[in-house]
Symmetry: C5
Subunit: 363 residues, 5 copies
């Protein structure tokens, strides 16, 4: 449980350090670190080609490529820890300082903001690891008339590999559509990955279920951890749904009318994800109830059995006590069969008690 | 409990496999499999007749029939596992690729979508089997100006048999109305079946109730299973209600104004189903409480009884201990009536304790 | 508990039997049965008079009276089991087939529907019997320009006796107002009866409370039964509130503007009823908590007492064990006061234990 | 708990007695009784003066004073049990019969109704007595163009004494403003008193908290009683908030635009009261949890201690049993130090057990 | 727990003392006390300079400075206990009496009110101290065309030190923007501090978590205290969110259109804070469950162990009882190995019982 809190704390920590600064100051807030990487792609109906840079990594000295009227430019920024680079990109495309601040502050809720000349879309890319649990990384998109800027939290991200290869291979509609369709495809590839996360969570629930049914104890922290991760998952998906509704109502001139059915499709996916999360939460609550009640049932079983044993021994002990008394005259005391008789009586009494408890279904 | 999760997992599994593909790719997502089957019906005021195909099964080589202006065409597709067939139908009627994707992805929520030239309606057909629980199959309808396309998940479905026979027999208003009334009748026949499902669930609750009152143990998993099925049932009906509200507000030109009272009637049915589900959930919660408290009451009863027995034996054991001490001088030890006196005292003490416990209503 | 479920099941049963039929088929769905009865009343400012029929019961051969322009006609149908009669009335006043279906299907939620030429109002008349619990019967009203049709579930109903006698006696405003005021009066008389039901429920809660405070056990099923009845009660009143809001907003030409304050008054009554139901539910929840905690407190009391007794006897038994040992040399064994001394010590020990337990307030 | 239910029942009782009567019949519904009292005040910028009546009590023969154009008339009716008087006032000011019915039926929810010529405001005046708990009395106001009618439930009420003295003393803005400002001042004086009620409730919670922390038992009924009173309190304040929103939106010509900021101030007070109630409910829930868990903790403490004692005595009793056996040859039996050795062993065993339990923190 | 209630009570106390006064009376309501302090700042694009007063503290004799057309005036009032000073400021800037009342009544909810000529913004500045818990102080802002008035609860507050130094240093955009940007910066600096509070709360939760996992008892009050503080925290932030929505919709002429993106940024911060609070509440609930169940698990462990010990000793005690009986003839009694045999049997029995309990995983 502690890692989850620690992770959250660190972010808040760094955020509070920023408290004194004027608004719009570019300070990276988030867990990620490491180098930044920038890649460019231009494409049109004729095909897509990478923009040449010296080496793979973009140096801050090089120029940010200009968008062309007849081609779509996609600038893919991976790693948002270097304010200088972010600021340079921002200046080139005329982005608002608060937008750049949001890009670098990687704890944003999913949202869509319309800045007139460009749309700003914030998403959360989710990954689930059975060991370390759910991790989410921020993905920010800027959609302009003929360009798309994508910002990912670290240079390790592989969110858009499928889209890149589809572009370079020339498969699908991508080359024949505008920047808006590219933005849609990027959002779609992030949202599609949510189903893989759900699958992993579902595996975890199944494992938990087997543990519960096999009578393992102390599953409470694991159930709570999973519950919390579902809450966190829901928090990443639900605002996206709202943002898509906003996008649909806004009728931004940057997005073609024909594309609205595609965004509605993503909206449906979000609803489906949220529905499944709700089902999982219901399952976990059920598991929790079954777990708690089976633990208490097992304990009760043990206590009942032990109390029954105590009760069976009580009368026998009384009889031995009686024949241990030092009275001069007691029946059977001097008879040769006395001992056997008494032992027999004790066996009889305990036997009939066991029979009676069995009949009452207490044993 | 495991089957329910497994079923859900498999779908998510296959869905995540689709993650890399471009949007609109036709891949069947769902549990069903097997052959597909296509049937056609044309009708007008003069009567209805089946469209002749070679054999019962539609081969992918044959043409999809054209809609006529003066007759209503109903194309009934059973089994949505063959992308080729779905795509062929889609091309004939000019359907959107995302619509076809939704038809083949059988985990959609109920919804109504207006594509301008045609309406797309997704429903869930429900079946309840006491053994395997609730199963739901997707039913998709496309309502065009003079045609209706219906897609069912497998060729085993019998959702529309009643409507087919009413058409062929010429009973009711069906022959005299347009495609919109046919679509309404199909939705109505699916929704009407929900009441049969509710009936089965009600039987299960009644059985559970008898088990609870007769003191059976370990009913918790069964109660939770039923609860979860009610949640799943609700999830199939509730979005349909919203979709019908949307249909009512939209005033699509494809649906005659006079039909709105009919769709409002289905809306009322949905509300009724949801209300009944809520009642069932309340009953199950009550059952759960009664069950848990009767289990704990029974255990408490046993524990109390056994503790009382222990308490009754305590003083008697003490007395035998006293007369088992080896003091030279103890009262009554050498008296011929000593033993009988002490035994009598023990009987008296235990008797009065039992009387007192009875009076206190502890026994 | 079983009756409540059974009653619900029977309705669903019959409803599912209807599943195959075309919409608008007149089949009675409900628990009631028996003969149907029809009565007519005409009135104007000059007075009210019953319409003569041969005998009290209306034969299906007789004609349904026509509404007159200058008088208000009230047709009171009691018992909705005969499709022929319902259909005849429906044809005379030009009612929609789905409306007639709703009249005969006595499991409708309260609602108001505007059919243009007439308003359709569905209400639930409630009765509470301490033995059999809450029963509700459907009351349907059709309000036309100068007529009111009222449909009650059986011929035993006495919902409107007060209004009939006020009409025949000529008391109040009824004779001087139109059909809309009559409809209002009928709704008002049904809603006013809800307060009598609340009163009975309040009696039941008070009885339960006395049982709880006097320490009766096993009140859980009774509390749950009452809780369920409150839920069912709420379900009858809440939709009526919504329907009245709808009526208020709709501004139907059939209802005079001046009457809106009257309908708002019924609306206030509904809110009051729902508020009181909520209070009752809170009380029942409180009662449940007090009940459960007093049961467990009593059990704990007993267990604690018995454990204390065991503990008090432990040291005494140990002492007797010590002096029961067969060592040759033990102190006081041969002293004439040995026995008395040991018995005295035992009394002292147990006495001081009891004193200590008292002081600790454990006893 | 019983008084609260009884009070509620009585009202419902009387209400149900009214069920047969036509709407608008004036029957007093409520707990109050006793004489009615009427007082009049006229004021303008020049000053305020009481209207002379013969004696303090207003006889039904006397005339109700007319409102003047240049002065504000405030008619203060205390006690609403006499239909004749209420009706007379109603006739003079042309009030709607349903309004008068609401005035006499003292179980109304707070509301504001716009009758065109006058506004009708219903409030609940609250009083808290530690003994009998929360009591609420209905206060109804009618605001006309140049008059205000106030109706209080009994002649014992002192809700408006502050306003009366401010008028007669000529302090504040009252004399220089119209009837709307008077109405505002009356509402304000009722709402201001809510804070005194909250203070009393807060005292009660504090007392309860001290009881809980000092370990008193059986506080459950008291906590539930207070919880219920908070619910009832909330029910008196929440609808008032809604009513004030309604008043703000309605823009009645009877209330000056400049006054809206004043009514918004009352609105803020209501929100503050509701917020504080919510805090109190949270505190009570917390108290309840702490109470229940401290009760069970104390019981567990006792049970654990007693069980430990039993366990410590077990081995000692076994040893005495061993040396009580009648074997011919047993070690130490005939040794002079045998007894001391065995007693020493027993002390050692029990001592080390106590030490071990201490170490394990069980004791 | 008591301090929290006491603090709340004192405010209500003083508030109720105000009940009799006319609305708009200036009485300080709140916990704070002490001297008041007033400071002035003027700035424009050319720079910022403090307004000279005699001494640091503003005497009530001195004049309140006038706003100039070409410069922004910021009047910073710290400590709102002196009605004379508040009234003087109010008269100079023409503020509404109810606004001044709200400034002095430091228990307001966050809100934004548009008075036409000026906007009134109420915020809560939060501080968290691990000892005394969460404290909140009211911050009121009045934004006029070219001035900002800020009122803080006491002269100890340091909420705006960052903004003051940024103004005097001439860093950032502040000098080049109008009064609206200053108001924004003040709100922003208060809201930014919420993250520091969240950080402290997160520390507390982490400490609690460690206590829970290390098995500390009696953490319930601490968990409840923290829960209550989260509720209180949420109550300070949530209404601010609403107020900012209101501000956004209102389009006050006092706030430049370009600034709306900045206020939307604060809005996002509020949402983030509320989200984090919700996460913390979920964590606390989880902690509570784990805590309660680990307490009961530990108790159960102890009870089970002790009961097992009792059960193991039962048969041994029975055997000693048997050989303590005084029968003349008993097997092994006179055998030299009798004692060893019996002791051996006892060891064997208890040993096999322990083995069996171990196998059953009861021990």
């Amino acid at each position: 449980m502690i890692p989850a809190i620690r992770g959250m704390r660190r972010t808040i920590n760094r955020r509070s350090r920023k408290a004194g600064l004027p608004p719009g100051s570019l300070v990276h807030i988030g867990v990620g670190s490491g180098t930044s990487l920038i890649r460019g792609l231009r494409y049109g109906p004729s095909g897509a080609h990478r923009i040449a840079f010296e080496g793979e990594h973009y140096s801050t000295d090089a120029d940010v490529p200009d968008p062309h009227a007849d081609e779509v430019l996609w600038l893919q920024v991976r790693g948002v820890t270097e304010p200088a680079m972010i600021e340079k990109v921002g200046r080139k495309f005329g982005l608002h300082p608060l937008l750049l601040e949001d890009v670098m502050n990687t704890e944003q809720r999913p949202k869509v903001e319309d800045y007139g000349d460009y749309l700003f879309i914030v998403l959360r890319a989710l990954h689930f690891d059975p060991e370390s649990g759910l991790s989410h990384k921020q993905v920010s998109l800027v959609l302009g008339p003929n360009y798309v800027l994508s910002f990912e939290e670290s240079d390790q991200e592989r969110n858009f590999d499928g889209v890149v290869s589809r572009l370079l291979d020339g498969r699908g509609r991508l080359l024949h559509e505008g920047a808006d369709y590219l933005a849609y495809s990027l959002v779609d590839s992030v949202v599609d990955h949510y189903f893989a996360v759900l699958e992993s969570v579902s595996d975890q629930i199944e494992t938990l279920e087997e543990h519960v049914l096999s009578g393992r104890e102390n599953l409470l922290p694991a159930i709570h951890r999973l519950k919390r991760e579902l809450i966190s998952l829901r928090k990443s998906v639900w605002p996206l749904r709202e943002a898509l509704v906003f996008l649909d109502r806004q009728h931004s001139s940057l997005i073609d009318e024909d594309l609205s059915v595609f965004f509605r499709d993503i909206y449906d996916h979000c609803i489906h994800v949220v529905d499944t999360i709700e089902s999982f939460r219901d399952m976990l609550s059920g598991l929790l109830d079954v777990h708690l009640s089976s633990i208490s049932a097992r304990l009760n079983q043990v206590m009942k059995l032990l109390t029954l044993i105590t009760t069976i021994f009580m009368p026998m002990t009384l009889i031995t006590g009686i024949y241990g008394m030092n009275f001069d005259r007691m029946p059977f005391l001097h008879s040769p069969y006395g001992f056997s008789l008494v032992i027999g009586a004790m066996v009889l009494i305990s036997g009939s008690m066991i029979w009676w408890f069995r009949k009452k279904r207490w044993l």
